[in-house]
Symmetry: C2
Subunit: 459 residues, 2 copies
């Protein structure tokens, strides 16, 4: 009984070339982190739902993949809750009774959990990187997958803005080495807080931020309409409008000072932004844009907010983002530890690399330099010995496995896999202890001893 | 509201040193595969349950992690099956209604699914390797984790026994390079089939195999008792006993020929074993043991069966295993494709490496060669510039982030992380444009220009 195979929506298989391309990007990111003194950690794919739930907002809770408890998972529900098991039972009631674990939604919360659990052995400030898949039950679309990799760098246990610089420098290094032109957008949560306070109350921050965040999609006027519907007062609407119409530049700080009546949040945010720009000055090649409308991750960011966008290609989504969080580990019982982190979105970066054709040409999935071909068992055994001699010297090589296949089929295999050379072993070669080397590109062939062959291919 | 954080039972966090150790083992395995012409693929962590279920026996189905459908998963159940939703509802009835996906249980079935889906673009014989985590809801114990990595190599689309050799050669190479002494056990399913036929019927194979497989745990006599209880006839019990008492050696084939009355299965199995040993002869350093009681993976293995055990350390479980499967892809609609594969159990190998203390000494999680320390803002900025100059030349370096910390605290940080040098920048160094280099091992210090520092640390 055969079945037509498929894979879950929003997930992908990666063939040999794609795996190599992804590893290439991963190694560029890893090199940048390692060069700056970051150390790797890895956390489990599954976390307890108590660790994950409530950390990503209501929408995030919806998008978490929950893993069903093992064994006779429903029996316990019936035994302990028989009175509620009927057609009125809701998903919300049932969920905590049948699922205790979920798949990692990002790398930040597991990192905070790790830091809280290992606080006594970690040397702070702790610079860690982590490159692993995460899972979200989101609607798949261009640039959005249900399984995708994040590559995170965080520096925790220090509130120095030099750490912000270090992370933006990693962005710069990586995108320079990948040859993707990017804009790094910067904002500071404290400036947004100052705006909310100037609009009447810090309580308005989330409403205002959600509105502002939509400006690229729906435009200024629609944002204003939505904020009005949310109950923002007229004078505040005018302030927000003025704020959003300002040029995306540090020069706009003076105007924002007016809008915010120079409150304490504004002063702190201004100082932080200016200090960060001072670190960045002349040290970074990517373009930096101070964007006061940038409002991502307000759930946990408390200071700097950053986002990276590619300046070329058709992907409109960010390929990286991050920010500073002053209280992240306190949800796991570790207070007073400030951190800042960034994330690279591996899958979107690979999409951009692909579209812009930026992968190095020498990324070949098949390393094999030579395939040994033969006519009989004696030739096969001699080919095998030659193969192993080459491999022992670091030269990837193969001997064709199937003795039943004619020599022309063996050559077809080498051609199909772009193996540059074949070594043919017939009766003459066995008698003279040589290999007939044929270059598949030119068709040229001549006899080699194994010693000479090692010299030639080891070059 | 803080919570005491924890991770799911049977899963682990990996700190910097552990990640490096795991990567070291992974790179040894990957090198062996690449050198032999294997190409990498990766498959999604989640597969449709229709792909996974029924492939690993009843026990395997129990151990699969199932992922709950997203959204209001129970509403549909109620709408479509209101009549069964009551306290009599069983887990078995409910499962297919609320979970369509599961976590990968191994890499073999996803590989077969991949081959069936990509049959038109794959060049056969296809040599692939795949190194990814798998998940099993097994009872955690020494050497058994709920999330663990497999590193698989398979050659599919060829029935040549040279492929068996290639895979065993990978085992040999990897364990030689890791310096773990191992025994590679070999058997052939066809010999076990011959025994079953000689005991009355091929139908007895699984009963006999399950019994035989327990011999190391419960001993010969108890195995015989169990087989008797299973209804194996007395003459057959005598045959099995004689079979199990034979020395673990190819020399025992003559005696097995007597026990099996030289049937066709036996002849084929004998030929295959002898041909494989002929390939292995003088080409492999690890010890090879022909073990006719080896009976793993009979669910899909049809020819060669292999298992690897470490000859040192306290782990009694296998650290690798594999075999030949003639029909694996047929469950996904692709017939007539024979393959053979092996798996490395990364986590158990790392456990053995740890116990035997076989990791290279130079695996250091922190690459940083120098930490720049300073007294004020000017020193910090100069330190930052020096840091970036070193990094641009491939020398990992850092500048201490917190200007509020005294110089002694900065040195403590370098010491705690085994950073070999600090570069101290005070007023004198700024005036003379130098760096005071201090080797933390000896305490020696002297002034360097940045040019000389690059020369010294770049060595």
């Amino acid at each position: 009984m055969s079945q037509k195979p498929s894979i879950p929506q929003g997930t992908r298989d990666f063939g040999p070339t794609e795996v190599l391309q992804r590893k290439y990007v991963l190694s560029c990111i890893e090199n940048a982190f390692k060069g700056a003194g970051f150390m790797p950690i890895e956390t489990p794919s599954m976390e307890n739902l108590s660790t994950l739930t409530g950390k990503y907002g209501n929408e995030g809770d919806q998008l978490l993949y929950k893993v069903l408890n093992s064994g006779d998972f429903f029996k316990k529900v019936v035994e302990n809750n028989a009175q509620i098991v009927d057609a009125n039972l809701t998903s919300k009631q049932l969920l905590p009774l049948i699922a205790e674990k979920g798949l990692r939604y990002d790398l930040t919360v597991p990192f905070a959990r790790y830091v809280a659990m290992n606080r006594n052995t970690i040397q702070f400030p702790f610079k860690r990187y982590q490159m692993q898949p995460v899972w979200r039950a989101d609607r798949p679309q261009k640039g959005r997958y249900r399984e995708f990799w994040q590559c995170d760098g965080d520096i925790i246990g220090s509130d120095s803005l030099l750490n912000e610089f270090e992370l933006l420098y990693c962005y710069d290094q990586v995108f320079q080495s990948l040859q993707i032109p990017v804009t790094i957008k910067i904002n500071n949560r404290k400036i947004l807080s100052a705006l909310a306070e100037a609009c009447g109350s810090i309580e308005l921050l989330h409403t205002i931020a959600i509105g502002i965040d939509k400006i690229d999609k729906i435009g200024l006027e629609k944002v204003m309409e939505e904020l009005q519907k949310e109950g923002i007062q007229d004078y505040a609407i005018e302030k927000i409008k003025a704020y959003l119409l300002l040029p995306k530049s540090i020069e706009s700080l003076n105007a924002i000072e007016q809008i915010c009546n120079n409150n304490a949040s504004f002063q702190k945010g201004k100082e932080e932004l200016e200090e960060l720009l001072n670190y960045l000055n002349n040290r970074i090649k990517s373009s930096i844009e101070v964007d006061f409308s940038l409002a991502r991750g307000l759930g946990y960011y408390t200071g700097t907010i950053v986002e990276v966008q590619a300046n070329a290609g058709s992907l409109k989504m960010s390929i990286g983002g991050g920010g500073r969080y002053d209280n992240l580990t306190s949800i796991f019982g570790l207070n007073g530890v400030s951190g800042v982190g960034i994330s690279f979105g591996l899958d979107r970066i690979c999409d951009v690399m692909n579209e812009l054709n930026k992968y190095p040409e020498n990324l070949t999935a098949k390393n094999t330099k030579i395939l040994f071909c033969y006519f009989d068992k004696a030739g096969q055994h001699k080919g095998l010995d030659c193969t192993l001699e080459l491999r022992a010297r670091g030269i990837a090589s193969e001997v064709f496995p199937d003795i039943t296949k004619k020599i022309s089929k063996q050559l077809d295999y080498a051609n199909a896999l772009n193996i540059p050379y074949v070594g043919i072993i017939g009766e003459t070669e066995i008698e003279t202890n040589t290999i007939m080397l044929k270059a598949l590109g030119t068709g040229n062939q001549s006899a080699y001893t194994i010693t000479d062959l090692i010299k030639k291919l080891g070059q």
